[in-house]
Amino acid sequence: MNSVWSRFNIVSVVLGFAFLYTPIVLLVIYSFNESKLVTVWAGFSTKWYVEMLNNRGLLDAAWVTAQVAFLSATVATVLGTMAAVVLTRHMRFRGRVLFTGMIYAPLVMPDVITGLSLLLLFVAMGLGRGFLTVTLAHITFSMCFVAVVVQSRLLTFDRSLEEAAMDLGAPPLRTFLQITLPVILPAVVSGWMLAFTLSLDDLVIASFASGPGATTLPMKIYSQVRLGVTPEINAVCTILIAIVTLGVIAASLVNKRREVQRLRDEQSAAR
């Protein structure tokens, strides 16, 4: 779509972005507040960051969360990529309708239902609630997000490349690893990042699936928020926001560079 960017368009974009970003910016600003009252500004201070670093429970929860997020994102990326290959390449097999249903339904399923149902499954299986159960739960819902992200890349993939490799005698697995995977890698990486942040973020499913030994960071934050808003939580949130923002920006820069490189390669190939 190409046309004039009218004043109305500019105003609505600016207002929309102001709405999206003002709360986050305020949260970050008030994490540097001297006062214990979050809403009264009393001068710049980093004492809440020091306080946070001395909070044993918070740090333990952060470590548990990082491990769960890393493990679940990695497994979810493998499973989700396989699911995406199935969605785009295997159009006919028994139970395909059920399969697509099971990929799309978790995307919109309310967390309370997913959490409750997984908990009851773990109880029926006789699995004690803890680190393992949270990780299994997170793999299950984030693999569907990975599948959707990777699938959209596979749909635009030029399949003649795969066919050429196989005509030249490459076995299927090798074709996938050497031809397909490098091309869809950016999507796989952003799928992994999405799975990682979804796991980092999840409160409801973790509350159902986790046991006393494995309190995750969102569970910890939630229990403190219920007691009241404190600058210490603002500090934790600011650090999380910083990590995620840096990750996303770094990933998009890497993607951009790859894209430029690809265009250059294509141009020199065409010459």
């Binding site: 499973l79 029926a124 599948a147 159902f208 969102p218 926001i241």
Partner: protein, 300 residues
């Protein structure tokens, strides 16, 4: 066309994710269904070790009954919670569309060089924690919070507005948290639109506003539908937003299910609440899936 993988390997690729989703997504629903029929009187204690042997546990479940459903239907609290969840989610969806559409429209008409940056700026908040974004609003909406401080300082109001712990706070929370889900699908349909259609209409004497309603809006409908379902379905079962922003008076079913499970420790009733919630959502979910599958096939 040749297949990517040999028959055995391709079966393997299908079976692994299939089996995973079957065990961890589909089977749990049947367990919830079963437990929702078990009796509250012999309800299970909340933790595993006190359960006794699995055999005994299944014995309890075998005594099926509709007691929990009758209990829910007979208690006006639950009925009200379902109704108000649907109403709150519906109003929030409409608000998200009213705010999200102009943003998506503005983004789609932005200079092409600017669009990737704008797109990233919409996606970025989605990467930041949901809990954090909801938490941020508490400090803003409180009676002594930043919004009231600002409005009092400007002189627009004489006494603080009570927003936190009302429905208004929930609307703000849902619209804010789910806005990217509305903007992205609408933007992607608008961005693909052929602008010469508008030019043609205007050349033929159509006014800009009526060109919008006759051409742009109908063409963006698939995005609007996808966006509305992406907001509406999760919003109905939302827990964090009504819990943190809605206070104790607001009734939403996600919150009811949570307290039934964690505070009353009544697993069978919580399961029945979940099953009914699923029944409420099954039609929207099916429409959404249908649209997704169609969009996927169109993209091929």
């Amino acid at each position: 066309m040749r297949r990517l993988l040999s028959p055995i390997a391709s079966r393997f690729v299908i079976i692994i994710p299939y089996a995973w989703l079957f065990v961890f997504f589909l089977v749990p629903f049947f367990i919830v269904l079963k437990i929702s029929f078990s009796q509250t009187a012999i309800s299970m204690p909340p933790y595993v070790p006190t359960f006794g042997s699995p055999g005994q546990w299944w014995n309890n479940i075998r005594q099926l009954g509709f007691d929990n459903y009758l209990w829910i239907a007979g208690d006006s609290l639950y009925v009200k919670a379902y109704l108000s969840s649907v109403v709150i989610a519906f109003i929030s969806t409409v608000l998200a569309l009213l705010i999200g559409y102009p943003v998506a429209y503005g983004m789609a008409r932005a200079p092409a060089t600017l669009r990737p940056t704008l797109l990233m700026l919409v996606i970025l908040p989605f990467w930041t924690s949901f809990l954090i974004r909801v938490y941020a609003w508490i400090g803003i909406l409180k009676p002594e919070g930043l919004l009231n401080q600002f409005l009092l300082a400007v002189g627009l109001i004489d006494e603080p507005l009570i927003i936190l712990n009302t429905h208004a706070a929930i609307f703000i929370g849902i619209v804010y948290s789910y806005l990217p889900f509305m903007v992205l699908p609408v933007y992607s349909t608008l961005e693909k639109m052929d602008h010469s259609l508008i030019e043609a209409a205007q050349d033929l004497g159509c006014r800009p506003v009526s060109a919008f309603w006759k051409i742009t809006f109908p063409l963006s409908l698939p995005g609007v539908v996808a966006g509305c379902f992406l907001v509406f379905i999760p919003a109905v079962g939302e827990f964090v937003i009504p819990d943190l922003l809605g206070g104790s008076q607001t009734l939403m079913i996600g919150k009811t299910l949570w307290s039934e499970f964690f505070n009353n420790r009544d697993w069978p009733v919580a399961s029945a609440v979940a099953i009914i919630l699923l029944l409420v959502l099954v039609i929207p979910i099916m429409i959404f899936q249908n649209a997704q599958t169609k969009a996927q096939e169109a993209g091929r």
